[in-house]
Symmetry: C2
């Protein structure tokens, strides 16, 4: 990670994936400079923007102007906001719009929005003409630190989430930190859970830095761009080692097995729980579970819980508003999320702060007992 | 290309694409042995077969039995036959069937049929869980020598053919030559045009061999498997050099610019013209056009025409039944197929038998004059 010379507050993370290498720029004012950043990296002079009804009124005009100023011909499609937009029907609409705009292999599809828009637009970029250029302009903290790095794209099926998609790396990511100023406090916090995750996976110094600097991350300014850049670099390091998710990339699922189960058990009702909150509770549970298995110290589990609590994130199953979640329903969701091989589950466990690892022999019965114990807390 | 030890008539072509390397087996009786060939190469024990209404009554039961005998759990979907099946709607149906059958990354989607089924099933294999294993069992000569090698998959859009798809290499191709016995003479001939194409691109000895042995290729027996194997090897050589079609792979389009224009001008009416027939006329035109430009000798153009005629393929625009095709309509179709840059077109031209090359500076006006001249012939 280096600081760009043009602006003090701007960061650049290069993701070195050989022929598929790309840059992530992080800082304020990037939407206004999008045209130049794109034309210096991509040959085509046409772009198809995909966005949603929440983001379009805020940034679509500014982005369109910025692209046109640099001679890029622009088409755009504004879709409903929310997880339901990740469907094959919307994918077909995006592809049709891009083909009608005569997007060729050297032109770009641009995702302007959060993770839903990024996953959908990236999938379209991966299949239109068997692959066109792809630019991500993530407008939520979650998508800036997570879904915009790594090349996973996809839509949901009636059989489950993200079951259809391709690996298609972006050619450029513009993480404009100005867009985070329009996020609600709750959305920002939810994204922060993934920032903290990178510390907890294998960067104890970063976690310690967050414990000291989280207020500056929340209030904006240089610490915010710094935290985003370290997160993107951390994810990039894992993705470069395991682009197609055959091994180490599973570490990125720290907190996600419990988290997904909680999301499923609350029927993805965002008034009760959003993804980042599920991950926060999931990470706290992963540390507590590791402590119970005598892998990590209870002090570390408490330290994780204390920090997540301090920023306002939930850390216990009972923190979820509404009716209590029966343990059986959680176990069912875990079994559906994972392949259970002769009663054994794959989990991300930890030996301490920043010492997480992939364990593929966790007894389902141990998980059940642990979850039963949580009811008393 | 080596001869397998187990059966004299069987050929094996290995496509050396690194991590995506795979084998093409060519010979009789392969459907009956599909289970063993798959289980020795692919870890999963589930398979989802995609086929069409013409092929299912002939081979679906035999394939299902063969797979089950080797312990593979089988699901299948039979779709309408024909080009219209290459749609996003049918893609969604195939994906849904595969997910309902709980196909995981190490399980296989199997294409049992011609090019349409191969392109559709391969696309599904490329996107279900971001990529599952893929086995091709091509049942037409065209798909055995062309679409089953190279990893191009796709469906059509209202904006054009094959505009949506992915590159997804198969893990195994079983070209069972017994299936060719149920093809009509016309279908076999159409596939043969692509066989001859490989000789005309860069294998003059193979073209000479075909001139002598084509009757044995048509009647079946060892010469048929030999011709298919040489064709697969030829396509493999080109694909290995240029997997993602950035250069040399364009040579495979010999005869296709004129051919596609003829198909479009006849509205893809297969009673008038099928793809292989368009390619046959297109190759004859490419040689005649090259002779007119003083690149190749008129003798070579006549030799190509004589051989295609001998096997019963059309070689002139006037060979197409029905109303005459106006030159303007052909030029329009050519312009739509190609990017015209300042009046220049990219064409595959030739300096003689087996001496084809990519020319990117062909004047549209030269093509027009040439096509006008064809009317008199």
């Amino acid at each position: 990670m280096t600081t760009s010379s043009s602006q003090v507050a701007e960061k650049l993370v290069h993701v070195p994936l050989g022929e598929r290498a790309y840059d992530i720029l992080i800082g304020p004012g990037l939407i206004g400079r999008a045209g130049g950043e794109i034309t210096s990296r991509i040959k085509g002079r046409k772009a198809a923007i995909v966005t949603d009804e929440n983001v379009a009124p805020l940034y679509l005009e500014a982005l369109t102007d910025a692209l046109q100023t640099d001679g890029i011909e622009v088409a755009s499609l504004t879709l409903p906001a929310g997880e339901k937009t990740k469907s094959l029907d919307h994918l077909a609409a995006v592809c049709d719009m891009a083909l009608a705009a005569r997007i060729e292999r050297n032109d770009a599809i641009i995702a302007l929005g959060g993770g839903v828009i990024g996953d959908l637009a990236g999938f379209a970029a991966g299949i239109v003409r068997r692959g066109v250029r792809f630019v991500q302009i993530p407008t939520s903290l979650l998508s800036q630190v997570d879904s915009s790095v790594g090349g996973k794209t996809g839509v949901n099926s009636r059989h489950g989430k993200n079951l259809l998609g391709v690996f298609h790396q972006p050619d450029l990511v513009l993480a404009d930190t100005d867009t985070l100023n329009t996020l609600s406090e709750r959305e920002f916090r939810a994204g922060y859970a993934e920032v903290a995750k990178y510390g907890l996976i294998d960067k104890p110094d970063f976690f310690e830095w967050l414990e000291k600097n989280w207020k500056q991350v929340f209030s904006g300014g240089p610490a915010r761009a710094e935290a985003i850049a370290i997160s993107c670099q951390a994810k990039s390091d894992v993705v470069v080692e395991d682009e197609f998710e055959n091994g180490r990339r599973a570490l990125l699922n720290l907190g996600h097995t419990f988290g997904h189960a909680l999301e499923a058990a609350t029927q993805y009702d965002s008034s009760r729980l959003v993804h980042g909150e599920g991950v926060a509770i999931g990470m706290a549970l992963a540390y507590r579970f590791s402590a119970r298995l005598n892998l990590a110290s209870p002090d570390d589990a408490e330290r994780v819980e204390a920090h997540l609590k301090a920023v306002g994130l939930p850390t216990r199953i009972s923190d979820i508003p509404g009716e209590a979640l029966p343990v059986e329903r959680l176990m069912e969701a875990i079994a559906q999320d994972k392949k259970v091989k002769s009663g054994k589950l794959t989990f991300i466990l930890t030996r301490g702060i920043g010492q997480s690892y992939v364990a593929d022999d966790v007894a389902a019965s141990e998980v059940l007992t642990f979850l039963e114990l949580q009811k008393a807390r």
